[in-house]
C-alpha cells in the first residue's frame, strides 16, 4: 500500500489513528486543548465508513462510564480530555481497573491545579502514574513526544489494554496536541465482529450464548478474603506489565557525562538543549521514558552509573523526578528543573541550568 503522509495536529492525528485502528467508539466532552479530537471525528463521520460510533457525552463522568460499558462489550473504545476533565474521570478509571475492562483515555494536559490554564503542562504525571482514583491499581501510561507518536500510540494502547485487560492512557500535553507535523498514518484495521470478539475475548459482555456462564463485570465483593485475592491477581498482572512493557528511547548517551531524563514535549525541548550544550563541549545525553508506567527504572539506573549528574526536566514542579530518585538512589546527583502554570521552558533556559 502507498504510504500516506499528511500534515496534522497531534489531536487530529489521534482521531485519524482511531478510525484506522479499528476503534469501535469514541465518547468525549469538549475541553481545551483537546477538542480537535472530537471535532475531527465528527467531521470525518466514521460511522458511515468503518461503523465507528462517535458520541458527545454530557460530561467527562458520563464519557468514562461509556468507556467502561463499551470496553466491557469487548470493543475498542476511547475517550480524550484534558487535565480537569481527566480528574473527573478518575472514578471510571478505577472501576475499569477493578473490573478489568480495557479502554483508552487520552489526556492532553494543561496547567493546573483546579481550572488552571489552557496552556501546556505535564503536571498530571503523578495522577496518571499512581492510578489517580481510589484503590491499589495502575494504568498503563504512554507519553508521546511527536504527532507521529500520537498516531502510533492509539493502536499500541489498545493492544496493551486488551492484552492485560486494563485501562491505558496516552499522556500528552497542549504542545503535542496543538502542534502540526508530518505524520505517516497507520494502515486500516478492520473492526472485530461479534464472533471474533467472542473468540478472542471470551470474557466480554456479548450476550450470553446458550451453554456458557454469564460474563459479569464488577469491582465489588463484600468478602475481604475474596477482595484480597482479587487485589493479588491485579498486582501480579501489574508485575508482569512492569517486567514486559517498559519502553524508552535514548539520545546521544554513548559518550554523555550528563544525563537528562525528560518525557513528552519536554524531551523535544531537551533535544535542542543537548545540541546547544554539545556545541559548547558539554557532553549531554538523554533518556526519554515512553512508558511512564511502567517506568524504565532499570534503564535509568544503569545509565546513571556512568554519569556525573542527572537532570530531570519536566513541565511541572517535580513529579517524575521522584521516580528517577527511586531508580538512582544516591549513586549520582540529581537535579530537577521545571516550569509551571502553562509556562514551557526554552532550550537556552535549560542550558543555563545545566551550566550552573
Amino acid at each position: 500500500m502507498e504510504e500516506e503522509y499528511v500534515l496534522l495536529k497531534g489531536n487530529e492525528a489521534i482521531a485519524h489513528a482511531a478510525i484506522r485502528c479499528g476503534c469501535d467508539g469514541f465518547f468525549g466532552y469538549p475541553i481545551t486543548p483537546q477538542s480537535e479530537v472530537l471535532e475531527t471525528l465528527s467531521l470525518e463521520k466514521p460511522w458511515e465508513t468503518t461503523g465507528m460510533v462517535v458520541l458527545q457525552a454530557e460530561s467527562e463522568v458520563a464519557s468514562i462510564n461509556m468507556i467502561y460499558g463499551g470496553g466491557a462489550s469487548g470493543k475498542r473504545v476511547m475517550t480524550s480530555s484534558s487535565s480537569p476533565g481527566i480528574a473527573l474521570m478518575q472514578e471510571g478509571i478505577t472501576y475499569m481497573a477493578g473490573a478489568e475492562i480495557p479502554g483508552l483515555i487520552v489526556n492532553v494536559q494543561r496547567g493546573g491545579p483546579g481550572l488552571g490554564t489552557i496552556q501546556p503542562s505535564q503536571s498530571d504525571y503523578n495522577q496518571a502514574t499512581r492510578g489517580g482514583g481510589n484503590g491499589d491499581y495502575n494504568t498503563i501510561v504512554l507519553a508521546p513526544a511527536s504527532v507521529q507518536e500520537m498516531a502510533d500510540f492509539v493502536d499500541l494502547s489498545f493492544e496493551l489494554a486488551f492484552k492485560y485487560r486494563n485501562p491505558a492512557m496516552i499522556l500528552s500535553d497542549g504542545v503535542i496536541g496543538q502542534m502540526m507535523e508530518k505524520v505517516k498514518l497507520p494502515p486500516f484495521k478492520a473492526r472485530l465482529t461479534r464472533e471474533q470478539i467472542e473468540e478472542r475475548y471470551p470474557w466480554a459482555a456479548t450476550g450470553r450464548r446458550s451453554g456458557r456462564t454469564p460474563n459479569i463485570f464488577t469491582s465489588l465483593d463484600l468478602s475481604p478474603v475474596v477482595m484480597e485475592e482479587h487485589n493479588k491477581h491485579l498486582q501480579a498482572k501489574y508485575a508482569e506489565i512492569r517486567e514486559k512493557e517498559v519502553r524508552y528511547s535514548t539520545y546521544k548517551t554513548e559518550d554523555a557525562e550528563i544525563l537528562i531524563v525528560a518525557f513528552g514535549s519536554a524531551s523535544r525541548i531537551c533535544k535542542k538543549t543537548i545540541e546547544l550544550c554539545r556545541e559548547q563541549g558539554i557532553k549531554v545525553g538523554m533518556i526519554r521514558p515512553i512508558t511512564l508506567w511502567p517506568f524504565p527504572t532499570v534503564a535509568i539506573r544503569e545509565l546513571a552509573k556512568r554519569m556525573k549528574q542527572v537532570f530531570c526536566i519536566e513541565i511541572n514542579a517535580g513529579q517524575m523526578v521522584q521516580d528517577v530518585r527511586l531508580a538512582i538512589g544516591d549513586t549520582c546527583p540529581i537535579s530537577h528543573y521545571g516550569r509551571m502554570g502553562g509556562m514551557v521552558p526554552t532550550p537556552e533556559e535549560i542550558v543555563n541550568v545545566i551550566k550552573q
Partner: protein
C-alpha cells in the same frame, strides 16, 4: 392423591423462571425487588433474548442483581448505569440493554446520566425502582422521599426548607423528546404484577425496535427502611406513595421517537 402424584409436569401452574438463578436472594422479605427480578427474567426468556441481553446493575439494593438473572451483566458506578448502557447499546445496537436502578442511583447521583440518556433517545430500557428511600445504606432520605416522610437523615420528616422537594423525575422523563414510553407501575397485587410484566415487555420491544428510550418506574415497598411489616408497607404504599406517584402510562408513542 398423594403429594408425589400431584408433582407432575401437567399439574405445574407456577414455577421459577428458567433464567432466575436458584440461589438465595439478599433482599428483605416483603421487598418488591425479588418480584421485579422474576418478571425481568420471565420476559427475557419469553422473548428468547438471553443471547443478546446485557443488564446494567446499579449501586444500591440491586447491586447484586447479577447474581440472580442468568445473563451478561455490567455493574456500574453509582448513578452511571445509563451512560454505561448508552455505550453498550451503541456497541451492540441489536441487543436488549437495560438498566435496573433505584431512586438514589437514578434520580439523585445519576440524574445527569439518566436525563441525558433518555433525552438522546438511546434505545435502552431503564427500570426504575422507586421506594422513596435509600435501602442499601439503611434508610436515608431519597430524592423521591415524600414531604413529611421520616428517614434516618430527615428523622423529623422531610421539610421543604431543610431538604427541598421530591424530584418528579418520571414526569420530567415524559417531557423529553428522546423517550417513547414512560410508565409507572407497581407489584403489590396480582393484577399490578401482570401490568408491570406487560410494561416491561413493551419497553423491551421498544428497545429492540429502536423506538427510543423507555422508562418503567415501579413504585415499590421498602418495609425494612420504612420500618413496617410487609403488609403494612403495601397499605402505606397504596395510601401515600400512589398519591404522589400515581400509576399508569405517562407517555406511549406507538411509532416511537422520530429521530
Amino acid at each position: 392423591m398423594t403429594k408425589e402424584e400431584l408433582i407432575s409436569p401437567e399439574n405445574i401452574v407456577y414455577e421459577k423462571p428458567r433464567l432466575l438463578n436458584d440461589v438465595d436472594m439478599h433482599y428483605c422479605p416483603g421487598c418488591s425487588h425479588s418480584m421485579v427480578h422474576k418478571l425481568v427474567a420471565e420476559v427475557i426468556d419469553e422473548m428468547n433474548l438471553e443471547e443478546r441481553t446485557i443488564g446494567i446493575c446499579p449501586v444500591g439494593c440491586a447491586v447484586f442483581a447479577y447474581r440472580y438473572i442468568d445473563i451478561d451483566w455490567v455493574e456500574a458506578a453509582h448513578g452511571r448505569a445509563p451512560a454505561v448502557a448508552s455505550a453498550l447499546n451503541r456497541m451492540w445496537p441489536d441487543h436488549l440493554v437495560f438498566t435496573y436502578q433505584g431512586d438514589g442511583d437514578l434520580a439523585c447521583i445519576g440524574t445527569g446520566e439518566t436525563i441525558h440518556a433518555l433525552n438522546r433517545g438511546e434505545n435502552i430500557t431503564i427500570i426504575f425502582i422507586n421506594n422513596a428511600i435509600y435501602g442499601m445504606t439503611g434508610g436515608q432520605m431519597a430524592p423521591t422521599t415524600l414531604m413529611g416522610m421520616k428517614t434516618s437523615t430527615c428523622p423529623y420528616g422531610r421539610q421543604a426548607d431543610l431538604h427541598g422537594f421530591p424530584l418528579p423525575i418520571t414526569d420530567m422523563a415524559a417531557t423529553l423528546n428522546g423517550t417513547c414510553y414512560v410508565t409507572r407501575q407497581a407489584v403489590h397485587t396480582v393484577a399490578a404484577i401482570n401490568r408491570t410484566k406487560k410494561a416491561l415487555r413493551k419497553a423491551f420491544e421498544n428497545s429492540l425496535q429502536h423506538k427510543g428510550a423507555s422508562l418503567v418506574e415501579i413504585v415499590s415497598t421498602c418495609n425494612s427502611g420504612w420500618k413496617m411489616s410487609p403488609i403494612k408497607a403495601n397499605e402505606w404504599m397504596e395510601q401515600e406513595l400512589f398519591k404522589a406517584y400515581p400509576l399508569g402510562d405517562l407517555k406511549d408513542l406507538e411509532e416511537g421517537v422520530i429521530k
